[in-house]
Subunit: 337 residues, 4 copies
């Protein structure tokens, strides 16, 4: 069996991680090419990871005959275009979220995917590939917690990275689009349902800079889903303790909590501060294995000629919902979907 | 210093607990009289606890010269009237929640209290007297968590008591009035602020019987408070694990969680089910010490001639808010206060 | 039913706690008298707690006709003599540990107790009356964990009280006698067996001052009990996090851990130190309820004319074992009982 | 840079895991050959993992020119011989524990390693490569917990695998050699010291079958190390909850606990059993990442021409200590090293 030869575009923080994973941690895959506008970074990374082809132009990557599949880890605004171009060139595509920066773009991506039913397309909702989230999902599907009553999910970035958040604020689309999209994806995945209404609030509790973009530093929303499940989402940029992603699913027969504290590892420290767990610092640390697992699944789908469970339509739905949450937050009104 | 001689009315489950506490666990207090319509229960309890006066009529209790203070632990519908009668007779009054079953009744209770500024009146929001809640509140007041961003509070009754909940449904006033009042009190106490808006949802996920009373078996609401704090409350009657009351206060500088799991005690069991904590079964178990502490504070106020921090107005405010939550739930609309 | 009138001797830290408990937290009990050599403290305490009789001489306390029972909370060296004198005067006796400072003294106490089979004598092994230890013991007795394999118990005092420990070192008898006695009592209580061999080690890891008394600041021992159960005890005076008393009982069918972390209360703090629990600071905080429960049991025994499960012989056995542990530690040899 | 071409011998449970890791999860490595006496298993595995060379004879593997390094994951009795043969043939060697089944064999392995200073030899004490153990070790080395006082370490296999343990009993060498070796390695690694004395006890609490081999189903020992650190080790084959490996290091300034409960993942279940964590089932699950990390370090050492921190001498020392623990257990005497 030949290895799937992957070309990866984008060498930012997550892009580098994906490149390293493909180069050394994914079975049946080979990192055959990398592409970024930063030529020195491309050269250094290619040397370090032993990558055959180096590109600074995405068109050249797409044109490369050795490439079977492309991993899109470029800036969000480029996703839709690169997905379409890559698939047109006959490449399988793994794309990081978001599918597009507008719902219209997402619809374009849908068309690109629909035009190539023979190719594998997968969107990077990595939390679904985290061992703990998968384990919990299996239990829910098996009926172990009964009917879902309340789904609560938090996404919190540490306060110590606030300057980065402020700098990115003009481009982030706001907390619901930037952070809650993963929670929205989980809510749909765990409940198998779609939202009917949303009420969203929040504000700038520590950092007034976000107000200029009609955003807050901490926001939340309460949604009613069609199956009556209550959905409470919270996103914050000022977490004092670390990078916190936690989810609770209350069912009629059982309750599951995933990562109710963001423990860094299995070490417990007992000292003058009490008995404590140190915390994860960022998404790369928390979801290190999930980032490997999701690309492994992408590769497995190509090898086994099947389609991933995360579809292009999930990307569109999540964007639609996040935009509605944003609109609810900005208007202060109760919105219906 | 003489002991405060307390007469207690109502010998239901909580009434008996209060009677036992006053009889043996409160300093500077004496259980001098008990009153209930159930004569055999009055006799048995008086004998067991060594109580001097036994009454089956509240009027007789009020008329008793030996009684300095009255503890009202009777059915909710009687609270307002008994508060007024007791204070008119010159007795200090400790009353269990609710202050009244309607906001109008609460206002009457306010008048009764205002008419007797020399008497101590205290409402039984016992959670404020739980060691853990007090400890957390002290930290918030000391500024240790910065500005409050999100206040989340759950009140869950175990599924195994569901038949009792169903039987009581016609009289409970619904989950917001029956259960969330304590969370509403905590929200006001911890944030020092009042609500502006509320959106409430929920339903009958396991027990359709509640629908007949426009109630659910699990409900939640999202409120915006005047200080911008987000308030998320959840109340449920189908908890699979036990009696769960938990609260989280997310601030800009720290986060506090009170009783994030309802551990029964300090025993951890490691067996074929994994590593587990058994859970509290009911409010009497979880708040055993708080019920003692609150009456001790009532007695201390009488002895030290000062007023409790929980006022009659807290009772009215909480009722007003709970009724608005109920209206929001029934209408499906976003309501403003 | 008349109240048991208790006279308490000793107004040190624990003595004051017992006095306050008897005065206000024990059902069917009355604090009728207190006795201490510190006259101003006696006066102040009597005034504060409303105590009828004040004594600075133990003989006067014993001679007091109003006293039904005596609580011995005086310095250890006085215990045996006061127990004997009190029982000779027809008083029921509750005595704090140790029963005596030598095994010979313990034997004398046994004789005093045996001479008055009509009187209640109880020794203050309060851990048996802690809700969590009781709960665990019930499970063990019910066979829920099968046959006991390993019993591990820690007693740790916080480093911040080290100056007090050093000052008390000449009189403490060493860590096994001063601290491990409670763990030894628990080991016997949980396993229902007695030791066969002991190997003990340790040293002065932070504070060389203890070496002068052939003691360490941290010590441990491994004992084989007659039922084959392995017993590992650890005692330390330099705990960085707080007052830590924890026990684990590994059985063939289940494992129980009691207070595996010394959580102060139910508050979890999430801040720059991670996710943490603050810790208990001392025995009065950790065992507040146990100190009430044990005296309540003493009173109940008197009222119900029955004997406590903790006997005078438990006190002797524990002393014998602790002295053998001490000898093992000092000699470095493996000792047999 | 060329990849390190590894041949792996032994396709038991752990052998297969190593083969899969080398084939797909180790950077700069290639699984070029596999060897096992079970020919069909070799064929099936080679096909599944895309392995070039297949052998049923170790001599053939050693003779293979394409092989740069050999991973020894064969039965323990073969380790020493295969290490020597492989190194003689100029191959780098990674060997699973134990280094040899006797101390004499370990000494032979030392000679083989010493004879080839240009080759990399590494022993598989994988716990040192677990993220949590590494994190804790870094803290200890950095002085964060002060001077080590007590090192406590448990290795427990689940009762549900007891039939396998019984079947393996004649060959296991007893619990100290079979299980505690990892704890002994950790004790030396964390304290940087060596044992002076050991007292060991235990027995057959549930399964008398082990007595025939002078072994127990649960054993423990207390050792005094040269730096005065107390070492308490416990090994058990009847864990009711799962595969439990936990370690505590009590220092004068801080305490670290690694994996105090063997949580399977980050999911917490709240149901009729209470609030619980499900547990790891075996070493492959618990140490999945550590098994990858250790071989990655082996490969890195080859690539970077440096030597691993785990040396052949660590293997000998651990064996010597484990044999002394075994002798102490069998004799019931206090032994000195």
């Amino acid at each position: 069996m030949d290895k799937v030869r992957i070309g990866s575009v984008g060498l930012g923080r997550l892009g580098l991680q994906h490149a390293e994973n493909i180069a050394g941690r994914i079975q049946n895959a080979e990192l055959i090419a990398i592409c970024d506008v930063d030529k020195p970074k491309v050269e250094e990374t290619a040397r370090r990871l032993g990558v055959k082809h180096q590109f600074t132009s995405f068109d050249d990557l797409v044109a490369c005959k050795d490439v079977d599949a492309i991993a899109v880890v470029s800036p969000s605004a480029l996703h839709t275009g690169q997905i379409a171009a890559a698939m047109k060139a006959g490449k399988h595509v793994f794309s990081e979220k978001p599918l597009g920066v507008t719902v219209a773009e997402c619809k374009e991506a849908e068309k690109a995917v629909e035009a190539h039913p023979d190719l594998v397309f997968m969107l990077g909702f990595m939390r679904r590939f985290d061992e703990s989230y998968k384990y919990a999902h299996d239990k829910v599907v098996a009926g172990e917690i009964g009917k879902p009553v309340l789904f609560r999910s938090y996404s919190q970035d540490p306060e110590k990275f606030i300057q980065g958040s402020i700098a990115f604020a003009p481009h982030s689309g706001g907390e619901f689009l930037d952070m809650s999209v993963h929670d929205i994806d989980l809510a749909r995945w765990f409940t198998g349902s779609e939202p009917e209404t949303v009420y969203a609030i929040g504000g700038c509790y520590a950092h007034p800079e976000f107000a200029a973009y009609k955003d807050g530093d901490n926001v939340s929303c309460l949604m009613k889903f069609k199956n009556d499940c209550m959905i409470f989402l919270f996103a914050g940029r000022t977490a004092p303790h670390g990078y916190n992603v936690e989810t609770e699913i209350i069912g009629t027969k059982g309750i599951l909590r995933i990562a109710s504290i963001p423990q860094k590892n299995l070490v417990e420290v007992l000292d003058s501060h009490g008995v404590r767990r140190e915390c994860s610092e960022n998404f790369l640390e928390r979801f290190a294995t999930a980032y490997v697992n999701e690309v492994q699944e992408f590769v497995n789908c190509i090898v086994e000629k099947r389609k991933p469970s995360v579809t292009v339509y999930d990307g569109t739905k999540v964007s639609e919902i996040a935009y509605t949450c944003k609109a609810a937050f900005e208007s202060g009104e109760l919105l219906k979907f």
